[in-house]
Amino acid sequence: MEDERINIGTQVKRGSAELAILSVLADGPLHGYQIAKSIERQTQGLLRFNLASLYPLLYRMEQRGWVKGTWEGAPGGRRRRYYRLAPAGRRRLVPLREEWAQLFQALNRLAGVTHA
């Protein structure tokens, strides 16, 4: 039972983080720090990513072919690894959005939980 709870919690966290990353990348390529800031800004600070939560997930998503990272020049002559939404990621985003919308609707029906 404990394992199950932990597993559900992990899956929910990972699923919501994947949705957040895919959603911000749908607007255009961003490097890791920009992804974290963009999510933080768009959720008004509710969702925050740090090194430990962002990069392992990005690497997993890259392996699944959802995002593609490439080193590119950034302002100031620096190089940053920019992530783009791959076609598989774009395809994944559609059902992921629907799943989360359904989850919020179900929670709303169950406990009167509403989302923004």
Binding site: H31, Y33, L51
Partner: protein, 236 residues
């Protein structure tokens, strides 16, 4: 400005990845900390305070190292097992091919039962009969059709559909066919008899004719696109 890479490297080592990938990860994490540090300085923090805050961003370096290793292991496992191309091959060739192989094997076994119609038996050389299951050949177009339909439905292109339909004949070609040349050479050396007629009959009865029958059944499914093999229009 702190040397972020030098600060991160001992915290993450050893990641156990190949050197190039490890350096890329360290460079990327260092770039993140550099941007974070600059943001903090812009917000009014002192250089040292910002550096300390930025470096504590990872909070738990051991956990970060384990997570990166887990992600990398998933990468290795996925690459080793099935990448996107492997999954496509599995769906469009291996599964329908295994299905046609199994179906043709089951049919052949059924036709070998005592109650089944008798096969044709030839005696191309004395003491060496050749059994020709013509009922089996008549059933093979259906088997080939099932394989090609499955492959097309899974998004298989023409080659995958043809291979999926042909898998029973390919199996006969690959397994017994591999040993055939050795048997022929052995026979020639030992008995001065190349057994060319039985070998040709074997190829005809178990490879060429079944292949033709399988492809005949598959023919209607060589046409038409599926959702995955059809060119996708750009969307915005």
């Amino acid at each position: 400005m702190p040397d972020w890479q030098e600060m991160i490297r001992p915290k993450l080592a050893p990641l156990g990845l190949d050197a190039k990938r490890e350096e890329e990860i360290i460079a990327e994490l260092a770039a993140h900390l550099e941007d974070f540090h600059e943001d903090l300085v812009r917000q009014g923090k002192s250089q040292s305070e910002a550096a300390e805050l930025a470096f504590s961003a990872a909070a738990d370096w051991d956990a970060l190292r384990r997570e990166i290793q887990a992600a990398a292991n998933e990468e290795v496992i996925m690459n080793y097992r099935l990448g996107p191309a492997g999954k496509r091959r599995l769906k469009t060739f291996w599964l329908p091919g295994a299905c046609t192989g199994a179906l043709s094997g089951i049919l052949l076994r059924l036709l070998q039962m005592p109650s089944a119609p008798s096969p044709h038996i030839f005696w191309p050389t004395p003491g060496m009969p050749f059994v020709f299951y013509w009922h089996w050949l008549l059933c093979l177009p259906l088997v080939g059709g099932i394989g090609a339909y499955w492959s097309r439905h899974a998004g298989g292109k023409l080659r995958a559909r043809a291979l999926a339909a042909s898998s029973p004949a390919l199996a006969w070609l690959c397994f017994p066919g591999i040993f055939l040349p050795f048997v022929l050479v052995f026979q020639w050396i030992v008995h001065h008899n190349a057994l060319l007629v039985p070998a040709a009959l074997f190829l005809l009865g178990w490879v060429i004719l079944p292949e033709a029958a399988l492809l005949l059944g598959a023919l209607p499914f060589f046409r038409g696109h599926t959702a995955e093999s059809r060119p996708v229009a750009a969307t915005h």
